[in-house]
Amino acid sequence: MEFRIEQWRAWAPGLDSDEAWQAWAREPVSVEDGDAQPSCDFLPAMQRRRLSRLARMTMHVAWPLCGDDEQLPLVFASRHGETPRTFALLSDVADEQPLSPTQFGLSVHNAIAGQWSILRGQRGESTSIAGEADTFEHAMVEAATLLADGARSVLVVMAEERPPAAYDEWIDDVPFSYALALRVGGIDTGNDAQAGVRWQLRLESGRGDSATATWPHALDWIRAQHTQGDTLVHTWKTRRWIWQRIP
C-alpha cells in the first residue's frame, strides 16, 4: 500500500517540539516518564475533566491535524490501552471497594475515540484497534482501507502509556509514554504537487526468528522521519513489515 503523510505530530514526556524530537532521533534514549502530560488547555476545564493521560496525549497530537469544520475518519491504535485505569479498577475490585462510575464508563478501548468524536463533533467512522508489537502497521492497514473506500484523508493516532509497575513482567515494549498522530492521504498518480512525505508499506512473510526493532515501531518511524531514513524493516513473529520512502 502507498500513502502520503500529509502532517504528523508526536508527543512524549519532554519531547514536544520538532527540535526535541530531532535531537532524540539522532540519539534515541529512553526518556524519564514521570507523570508529565499535555495540558490540553485549548479545551475548557469542564471538557477536560474526564480526559485520562492517554486521552490528553491523543488530543494533543491529533487536535491540530483536523480542521475546525472538517470531518475525518479516525483510527485509534494502542496495544495496551489505558493500563493505569484497568489497574485502578482491578485494585478496587480486589479491595471490595465500589467502582468509580466515571472510570468504569471509560474502561473500554474505544473510549478515547468516543471522546474525540464528542469534543470535535466528528460524526464519521472511527476504529479502535489493539494488536501486537506491530499495532502501528495494522493501524496503517486500517487507514489504507479507509482511503481505498473513498476517504480523502484519515487521522491515525498510535498511543501508548507506560504501564504500572505491576505489569513489568508482561509488558516490555513501552519504554516511555508516547503518542503519534498522522494525517494520511492517498497518492493521486500524476499529481506531483501533492504535499507530504510518500511511503510504501508492504508485508512479507518472515521465518519468525528475527529480532524485533529496538524501539516501538511508531518511535522508530519518527526517528526515520527526522533522520531522512528511507527504509524501515519492522519484524514481529512471522510478519515482516517494510516501509520504503517513495522519492
Partner: protein
C-alpha cells in the same frame, strides 16, 4: 460559606477533576447541574460515591429527595449534616 460547604465544594473539585476551578467558583447556592456549574448525571454518581466514602453516609439512589439534595452545595451540606446527626 461554612466549613462543611467549603469542604464539599473542594470534594467536588477533587473528585470530578475540575482543573482551574476553585472553591470560590462554587458558591453554596450555585446550581451544580445543567446551567450553573454544568455537571451531568455521571458526575452525580461519582459525587454520591465520594460523599458516601468521605462521610460514611448512605444515599438511597431511588430516593425522591436525592435529586433535591444534589442541587447545590448548600443542600448537600445540609443533607450531610442531617445524616451525621441521625
Amino acid at each position: 460559606m461554612n466549613a462543611l460547604q467549603q469542604e464539599i465544594a473542594q470534594l467536588i473539585i477533587d473528585t470530578l477533576n475540575l482543573e482551574d476551578v476553585t472553591v470560590e467558583d462554587i458558591p453554596p447556592t450555585l446550581p451544580l447541574f445543567g446551567e450553573g456549574l454544568g455537571l451531568d448525571s455521571v458526575d452525580a454518581l461519582e459525587l454520591a460515591l465520594a460523599l458516601q466514602k468521605r462521610y460514611d453516609i448512605r444515599i438511597a439512589s431511588d430516593s425522591k429527595d436525592a435529586r433535591q439534595h444534589f442541587t447545590t452545595v448548600a443542600n448537600l451540606a445540609a443533607f450531610v449534616q442531617a445524616q451525621r446527626n441521625a
